[in-house]
Amino acid sequence: MNTFSLTHLKGPQGDDNTPGLLGYVLVAREDAFSKIAKAPKTGTTAGETAIITDNHTFTNADDGFAKVYLTLDSNMLKAAITGERDGRGLKISFEGFHPGNNAEALEFMRIVKNLGLIILVPDADGTYLQVGAEGLPVEFAPDYDSGKLSSGRRGFTVKGEAYANGMYIYAGTVKYKA
């Protein structure tokens, strides 16, 4: 099959199509990987080029994805078209809320603002969408809010941005940080 020929797209036909994301995100530094797997550029079956099936590997034995809790229903992933006619790409934006201001969160957010990241975002059905790729990492901008005595909530609103040519499912092995 020619990758660039279009295929029929069916409706859900009974499959789950739950909106929203699970209450966490997996985060790893771009420079911690020894190999950042990519989806194939061409394929023989429909959809093959949108799935990363190879495994990401890390340089150090104790490295892996860090699981960051996000408040349920605070996180969202969007991708918007950028560029001009005949040269379009995607700007992916991610947002979520991590509650609290304990020492680990303060440190994490201080460090992460100056890093390139690869993140795996689990959709409500548990499929990982990968945001960030080699050379096109996600950048996190964590905004802190103490909240007020009478209202609001204390913690970090984490906004991530990345540029990409498309959205990809990650189906390889997910190794957590030891």
Partner: protein
């Protein structure tokens, strides 16, 4: 501050060596989630049947005391 490194369960460590520091691992394609730190030997043997499973490698079998080869 340094906490001891995570380890395999002793029964697993007897037969296998971990190629990474034991941690949680997900294999979404196969719908598997497991933790190398709490893995039992039976589970480890099942995982070893997966072709691209690289996180455990069998330990080389200990050679029995080579008494016959050294004696004259």
């Amino acid at each position: 501050m340094a906490s001891p490194l995570p380890q395999l369960q002793p029964e697993v460590a007897e037969k296998f060596r971990s190629t990474v520091i034991p941690c949680r691992i997900e294999m979404p394609r196969l719908g598997l989630t497991f933790d190398l730190r709490t893995l039992t030997l039976a589970e480890a043997l099942e995982l070893m049947k997966i072709p691209d499973f690289t996180y455990l490698v069998p330990r080389p079998k200990r050679r029995k005391a080579a008494s016959s080869s050294t004696s004259k």
